[in-house]
Symmetry: C2
């Protein structure tokens, strides 16, 4: 197939939660947000960019974020 693969795509995709760049975990076919400690699955070729569907891969970071979003910081 005559498909132009553009590596720029990964540079513009971000985590919907932290807005930071994602890593493509080719082995497990998912997009990793290191900042959020979450992995977004790619199901049948379709990336599922929903926090509720993401897998927690770093409990510490994920719970930090949960705290951040439940307890609103002062200032």
């Amino acid at each position: 197939m005559d498909i132009a693969v553009d590596p720029k795509l990964l540079e513009i995709l971000v985590c919907p939660l932290t807005k930071t760049t994602l890593l493509y975990d080719r082995q497990n076919n998912r997009l990793i947000s290191e900042a959020a400690g979450l992995a977004y699955p790619i199901l049948k070729g379709v990336p599922i960019m929903l926090i509720d569907e993401a897998e927690i891969i770093d409990e510490t970071k994920a719970s930090e974020l949960r705290d951040l979003f439940t307890t609103k910081g002062d200032t």
Copy 2:
């Protein structure tokens, strides 16, 4: 940032409708399904892989698909 950009990502992403590979339209920041005649937007870095949110870029192909999904072909 120490981000490994993996061009393989685009090779595994597919159109949710036609299951064919997508093209990254860098200029308009969207993912194009040539087979479906649709473009999936990337909003704030998050690809929206929903048919209802896609923009029709090829009316002929898009309507062919609509026919396919509304009129069920005989065996």
